[in-house]
């Protein structure tokens, strides 16, 4: 091996399969591009609707709450829904992908910055996405326990929904800060390896 001519010959000799028509590939490209855009929009819409539903539900629960403490807690949950919608619209859940027509060096740096941004965002999820509604639920539960005790009823049954909320929020925290962050860190490491690592 391997003078330039032989390398060129080998390189260009790769079979490329039956050529696909440009019109056919255009259809595929448009479908893929639309699918990607639709996926992002649908996910954001789904999350906003869920947050608005949370707001509506907990506003109603606050209205029916037995005392000021539980009302304050449930109103905090309702406000958290609006806060989450604001944060998603303002900051987005994902950094926009870097422009693909940059030079390769610029693109790879931009890709690294995107990973860092995304990891930072996921590590902050506990503050802007999980903590406000969880605090509201804690306060709401405390209010209900107080109201029950005032009526001579036991407070412990309220611990059951509280345990469910805690497990649910713990699961969400794990999905975001452990699972998703680990996956992104693996991709980031692979990018660095691709950029720097000569495995030959």
């Amino acid at each position: 091996m391997a003078d330039r001519d032989e390398l060129d010959q080998l390189w260009r000799g790769q079979a490329t399969g039956p050529p696909r028509k440009g019109e056919d590939m255009l259809t595929i490209a448009m479908e893929r591009a639309n699918r990607f855009d639709h996926k992002i929009k649908a996910r954001n819409l789904r999350e906003c609707l869920a947050a608005l539903l949370l707001t509506a539900l907990y506003t109603f629960i606050a209205w029916k709450s037995p005392n000021a403490l539980s009302r304050a807690g449930h109103l905090l949950v309702a406000a958290s829904g609006l806060w989450i919608v604001f944060c998603m619209l303002r900051y987005g859940r994902e950094a926009p992908p870097p422009a693909v027509d940059r030079s390769l060096a610029d693109y790879q740096q931009a890709l690294l910055r995107k990973y860092d941004y995304q990891i930072r965002l996921l590590k902050n999820v506990k503050y802007w996405y999980l903590l406000p509604p969880y605090l509201g639920l804690l306060l709401g539960s405390a209010g209900i326990v107080t109201a029950n005790q005032a009526q001579g009823l036991p407070g412990w049954p309220q611990l059951i929904p509280l345990a469910i909320y805690t497990a649910m929020f713990g699961g969400l925290w794990w999905l975001n800060e452990v699972y998703a962050v680990s996956a992104l860190q693996r991709e980031r490491t692979r990018l660095l390896e691709e950029m720097n690592g000569a495995t030959v």
Binding site: M1, A2, L7, D8, L10, W11, R12, G13, Q14, A15, T16, G17, P19, R20, K21, G22, E23, M25, L26, I28, A29, M30, R32, A33, F36, P97, P98, A99, V100, D101, R102, S103, L104, A105, D106, Y107, Q108, L111, E187, R188, R190, L191, E194, M195, N196, G197, A198, T199, V200
Partner: protein, 184 residues
């Protein structure tokens, strides 16, 4: 690109531009995909991903760069993103090698077999290079000039030439190692 044209003529213009560019560069894009992934279905998927990125980027093309260097930037950037997202990398690395050209009527089967082996080794060795070296190698083998490679990669022409010398040596060593069974 037809700045003053209305929406419909512009859409038709973009479609036409896409079809022309894709048909002109389809074999080169397939070879480029082969430098990132070995399995046929992954290559096809990568080419489609590049085509989707081309379609999204086309309205922003301003002819400041040559069409060829612009397309190669997109193709390599999409390929590198796809590579780092590859979850089953190890599995794909042992996937079947690229299908090779069928023997031509006049050539002996032995010669073709040898060429096939060498081609497999070349593509495998290119896939093993670090991303920047792989990109430079592909661009070089596709016939881009030093200035064009600079325009695509952002590396100075002199640095490209130096790297190419080193890459050739690496490829030679890698292929030799594979031939003697010391490689992966």
């Amino acid at each position: 690109m037809a700045e003053n044209a209305g929406q419909e003529p512009r859409a038709a213009f973009l479609r036409g531009a896409f079809v022309r560019i894709y048909e002109q560069y389809a074999p080169a894009l397939e070879r480029l995909a082969g430098a990132y992934t070995a399995a046929r279905e992954d290559r096809e998927d990568l080419v489609q991903e590049i085509a989707a990125a081309l379609w999204r980027a086309l309205p922003g093309y301003r002819a400041e760069a040559s069409e060829r260097t612009w397309l190669y930037r997109i193709a390599h950037n999409v390929a590198i993103s796809a590579t780092v997202k590859q979850r089953k990398r190890e599995k794909r690395e042992v996937a079947p090698e690229l299908p090779l050209e069928l023997p031509s009527a006049g050539s002996s089967a032995e010669q073709n077999l040898l060429a096939e082996e060498k081609r497999s080794m070349l593509f495998a060795a290119v896939r093993d290079l670090a991303a920047v070296d792989r990109q430079i190698t592909v661009l070089h083998l596709e016939g881009l000039s030093g200035a064009e490679i600079q325009a695509v990669t952002g590396l100075a022409e002199g640095a490209v030439a130096t790297r190419l010398t080193r890459i050739r040596e690496k490829l030679r060593q890698a292929i030799r190692a594979r031939e003697t069974g010391d490689g992966r």
